[in-house]
């Protein structure tokens, strides 16, 4: 646990470094008078039409879901992968071939999920 406390401390110092940089710049930076053209959204000199926050293409959402699924699945792989070498090289209650079989089954299920998504056309980008 101690190492994560250290990481937390490092993150705090890092955020301080970045935040301090931005703050210093805000104090030091030159300013020009405010005018409506200056704060207009930059869309290549065209006047922006409407709000930018619109309903968006759904494919992105599907990819986000896919990412969630596969990222969590890869975390489930983690414990198995972590003990793999220990099981394979040292005498333990588990047999290495059994573990390899289990790994294959897991990866196969994961892969068939990918095939299903593929077949359903989620990966098609238009």
């Amino acid at each position: 646990m101690a190492s994560y406390t250290i990481i937390g401390f490092a993150i705090f110092l890092g955020a301080l470094f970045v935040g301090g940089g931005i703050l210093a710049s805000m104090l030091l930076a030159f300013r020009t008078p405010h005018c409506s053209n200056k704060v207009q959204a930059y869309e290549c000199a065209e006047d922006p039409v409407g709000d930018a926050r619109i309903r968006f293409k759904v494919s992105y959402y599907l990819f986000a879901l896919l990412f969630l699924i596969f990222d969590i699945e890869s975390l489930f792989l983690f414990p198995c992968v972590k003990i793999f070498r220990t099981v394979a090289t040292q005498a333990t209650a588990l047999s290495p071939t059994f573990l390899l079989g289990e790994l294959s089954v897991f990866v196969f299920i994961l892969f068939s999920g990918l095939l299903y998504v593929w077949k359903k056309g989620v990966l098609r980008w238009e």
Partner: protein
């Protein structure tokens, strides 16, 4: 259940740490050591973009038979510094309709997330802030945070180009995150440990004991896949559709100016260094000196401090990233997604199983 690693060659503690422990009482010394380590990392974070901006411009220039920056300092060495000072004094602007809090949170989040990984990178035997037992897990978890900054930046800017760029970046980064995570798992499987320091120690021996070679033939494939995935994860050319200047102006950074833009830039370059140092740690033996099995040469190479080897290897990997940029044309978004989901992910699954077989049979 100690892994079969010979660490007798390396000292148990480092000299600076011992010195501080000698002059300060126990807990204070430990705290001082941690603060020193964090400051060292912050120095690396501060100097990496400076070095990389210069390198990026010089490499680009020489690939195009130009000279690049020459005026400020010797061969333009002070150019990045001049740029940085200029950016600090530039006005920070916020477009109308932007969400103020999120707009300023995004660069802070991006830059902070970019060096969170550096806290677990072993620069040398003892030049590492901390070494959690689940280091690889931590890397996988933290690498996802940068995406938040990008998405927040795009959403808060109230600019169509920013939003499009952020969405593309986000989709690309989360996709390639999968193959990076699977490749890291591959290394965990091969080395039997999830601590980054022990992963480096598992490569002790000659050059052939680095995971790129120790995992026969497939190690090189895994290395190439890691390079491709990390290039895409970094949104670097040729996978830079998110900031394709000709289509999307500046991608998610379109509305950022001055120091806020500099923070995104810092994040980008630190991320690049981070990806290169992960490649070094996982495949190229980290801080270990290359050994060739020739006693006298090996002793000579071993005398060079580990962190120099580490930086040499990392910067070589970074050079490869820059080389990519000027070699390959930019693919389309759909080609990029196809490459990831239809080629890299299945290939990584296969590699994982092959690695399992190799470990069981004792070939790797």
């Amino acid at each position: 259940m100690e892994p079969i690693i010979d660490t007798s060659r390396f000292p148990a503690t480092n000299a600076i740490g011992d010195f501080i422990r000698a002059i300060l009482p126990g807990p204070v010394a430990e705290l001082a050591n941690i603060v020193l380590a964090v400051l060292a990392i912050l120095t690396v974070v501060g100097l990496t973009p400076v070095a990389l901006i210069w390198m990026e411009r010089k490499v680009a220039a020489h690939f195009q038979a130009r000279l690049g920056p020459m005026r400020v300092g010797y061969h333009g060495l002070l150019q990045p510094l001049a740029d940085g000072i200029k950016l600090i004094f530039k006005e920070v602007m916020k477009p109308e309709g932007a969400d103020t809090f999120v707009f300023f949170l995004a660069p802070i989040l991006s830059a902070t997330a970019s060096f969170m990984v550096l806290t677990v990178i072993p620069f040398d035997h003892h030049l590492q802030v901390t070494d959690p037992a689940g280091g690889v897990l931590y890397v996988i978890a933290v690498a996802g945070l940068g995406i938040m900054g990008v998405l927040l930046a795009g959403w808060s800017s109230n600019n169509k180009y920013s939003l499009l760029g952020a969405m593309r970046s986000g989709a690309q980064m989360i996709s390639y995150e999968i193959s990076l995570a699977l490749l890291m798992l591959l290394i965990v499987l091969l080395s039997g440990t999830a601590s980054l320091r022990e992963i480096v120690f598992s490569q002790t021996g000659t050059v052939l004991d680095w995971w790129i070679f120790k995992f026969p033939f497939f190690g090189i494939i895994a290395f190439v896949l890691f390079l491709i995935s990390s290039t895409a994860e970094l949104n670097r050319a040729p996978f830079d559709m998110a900031e394709a200047e000709s289509e999307l102006t500046g991608g998610f950074t379109t509305e950022y100016s001055g120091i806020t833009f500099a923070m995104f830039f810092l994040a980008e370059f630190v991320n690049m260094f981070m990806a290169a140092s992960l490649t070094t740690t996982f495949f190229l033996g980290g801080f270990l000196a290359p050994q060739f099995g020739l006693a006298s040469l090996d002793r000579m190479l071993d005398a060079i401090p580990g962190f120099l080897w580490f930086f040499l290897k990392s910067y070589s990997v970074i050079f490869i990233y820059m080389w990519f940029r000027w070699t390959f044309p930019r693919p389309r978004v759909d080609q990029l997604m196809n490459l990831e989901w239809k080629v890299l992910v299945p290939a990584n699954f296969l590699l994982l199983l092959i690695a399992g077989l190799f470990v069981v049979m004792g070939w790797a």
